[in-house]
């Protein structure tokens, strides 16, 4: 069992529980319940920052394009973006599929949850600033060009499911060697590992906090692997990260959601 923090839906306080990440079992006060017997809110409250092109395969997929217009050179500093408050979503709630869009990219991201104010921290000390780890589905509308910020493709309502919990940092021996898997309707569609990060977790925290402070409760996504699987209306999406958790959401047309007809 791993120690984790959760925010149960309808309960004002966060809770500390024990979890079995792979099976989706939650234990508290000696009682065990399965994922589907519980309702969760997103377990994080701060700003969520994503990292673009931090998987070796994702950068390789751009190939020689990085040297051509409009990019003209390979990236030097971390490329970041923000998943704003309207995107934050939780385990088992639907991912809205916008009208006129047929498929969504499923971004399997390890979320590094910050535990205390981190400004210009060194790589050696970076992990001491981490409270824990969570699973994030960094959803996007497919877009080939990454030249301009992709607000319209990445900042839609509900496009950032997080959870179901945050596993305490001490429970993860090495954040740079975690297997990530994406299942759609039960079928394995992507498998990768954080061993393939260009900037491993500590290096990423150091390079980001060199110019911007990460605050307690903020979440830094380490990146999404290449060949993001596509999901369409009705698809059940499950992201697993070994030793961290499993996050499930269904893609639902936005006009079929409560209030979606407006």
């Amino acid at each position: 069992m791993l120690k984790a923090k959760v925010k149960f839906r309808g309960v004002p306080q966060s809770d500390e529980v024990n979890v079995r990440a792979a099976e989706g079992v939650v234990e508290k006060n000696g009682n065990q319940l399965g994922l589907n017997e519980l309702a969760f809110d997103a377990p994080v409250s701060g700003t969520i920052y994503g990292t673009l092109l931090n998987y070796k395969g994702a950068l390789e997929a751009l190939g020689g394009e990085v040297n051509e217009a409009p990019y003209k050179a390979a990236p030097k500093a971390p490329i970041l973006y923000i998943k704003p408050a309207n995107t934050i979503n939780s385990h088992s709630l639907p991912i809205p599929l916008p009208e006129g869009v047929s498929e969504l990219e499923i971004g399997a991201a390890l979320g590094v949850v910050i535990g205390r104010t981190a400004t210009r921290v060194s790589e050696e000390e970076a992990l001491e600033y981490v409270a824990g780890y969570t699973v994030v589905n960094d959803v996007s509308i497919p877009h080939a060009s990454v030249y301009r910020p992709a607000i319209k493709q990445k900042a839609r309502d509900g496009f950032c499911p997080v959870g179901p919990w945050v596993v305490n940092r001490e429970e993860v021996d090495n954040p740079d060697s975690l297997i990530t898997r994406v299942f759609i309707n039960g079928e394995l569609r992507q498998e990768n590992t954080t061993a393939n990060l260009i900037r491993p977790v500590a290096k990423l925290i150091a390079d980001v906090t060199d110019f911007m402070t990460l605050n307690a409760g903020d979440t830094l996504l380490v990146g999404v692997p290449e060949n993001a699987p596509l999901a369409k209306a009705g698809d059940e999406v499950r992201i697993e990260i070994d030793g961290v958790g499993c996050l499930e959401n269904k893609v639902v047309r936005e006009n079929e959601l409560a209030g979606g007809g407006f």
Binding site: L52, Y81, I82, P84, P98
Partner: protein, 264 residues
């Protein structure tokens, strides 16, 4: 009414402007130099517009975009009136951007431009500094250019929307050490406020307290350590900021470290 958030006598207060002084919410009257000015709205989701004045776009050798060029900022980058912004020792070109900031007053989704002003609670002034040395061509302008700690002064005042008759006809001015270096008018925006609210709310929900920084006109000038930069929007406020060097932030540049190694 003009409202501020300030730190005074060990606590954070809301305050209003009264006869050139500040009245705290507990009734105390204080001078504006006696307080620490905080951002007048606590930033959550903050949008910023690139190239939203045709003359500024031309100045940067871009043509004005056909669709708004929008990027987001995190809470870390904001500082209040009369604060200091860091200029790293190794940069060659760091410029201010005087902008009208629009504050959203209630949740907005699929709002038509005719009704857009009903969703605005007020306005403030922002200075959206950019360090051009750090520009790269991925999700440009990226956070290393536009979301640095201390690089977005905002304030001093939150001004109620009802007090601003025509936000699309306000003079913007920047003064560096007292000299006017930038002058424009909000009427020259490529995408005006109602258009931006319609555009953003067409694909996402805007929430109370969200802020839209509407872009800057022509007149970007490099600013150096010690410069006093005042960004002013007619009827909204005069936002004072000073550029500070690495020493102020206890940052030793790598070249200095090398130098000190050599001498010891």
């Amino acid at each position: 009414m003009k409202r501020a958030r300030v730190a005074y006598a060990g606590a954070i207060h809301e305050a209003v402007e009264k006869d050139g002084r500040l009245q705290l919410n507990d009734g105390r009257m204080v001078e504006e130099q006696e307080v620490v000015w905080l951002p007048p709205v606590e930033p959550r989701t903050v949008f910023a517009l690139g190239l939203n004045y045709a003359d500024h776009a031309a100045e940067l050798a871009f043509k004005a975009p056909e669709e708004p060029l929008v990027f987001l900022k995190g809470p870390n980058t904001f500082i209040g009136h009369r604060a200091e912004t860091r200029r790293p020792a190794d940069v060659e070109y760091m410029h201010y951007e005087c902008e009208l900031a629009v504050v959203i007053g209630r949740p907005a989704r699929n709002v038509k431009r005719e009704e857009a002003y009903d969703y605005v609670s007020g306005y403030t002034v922002a200075n959206d500094y950019a360090i051009r040395d750090y520009l790269e061509n991925y999700y440009r302008p990226n956070l290393r250019v536009k979301n640095r700690d201390t690089c977005t002064p905002i304030g001093p005042w939150f001004v109620d929307a009802e007090d601003i008759k025509d936000p699309m006809n306000l003079t913007l001015k920047t003064y560096v050490n007292g000299e006017v270096t930038q002058e424009g008018n909000t009427k020259d925006m490529v995408f005006d406020i109602p258009y931006l609210i319609e555009y953003l709310s067409s694909f996402m929900t805007l929430n109370e307290g969200d802020i839209i920084l509407t872009g800057t006109p022509k007149g970007s000038v490099d600013t150096k350590v010690g410069d006093e930069v005042i960004t002013e929007v007619e009827g909204i406020g005069r936002l004072v900021n000073t550029i500070a060097g690495d020493d102020t932030f206890s940052i030793r540049s790598s070249s200095k470290e090398e130098a000190s190694k050599l001498t010891t």
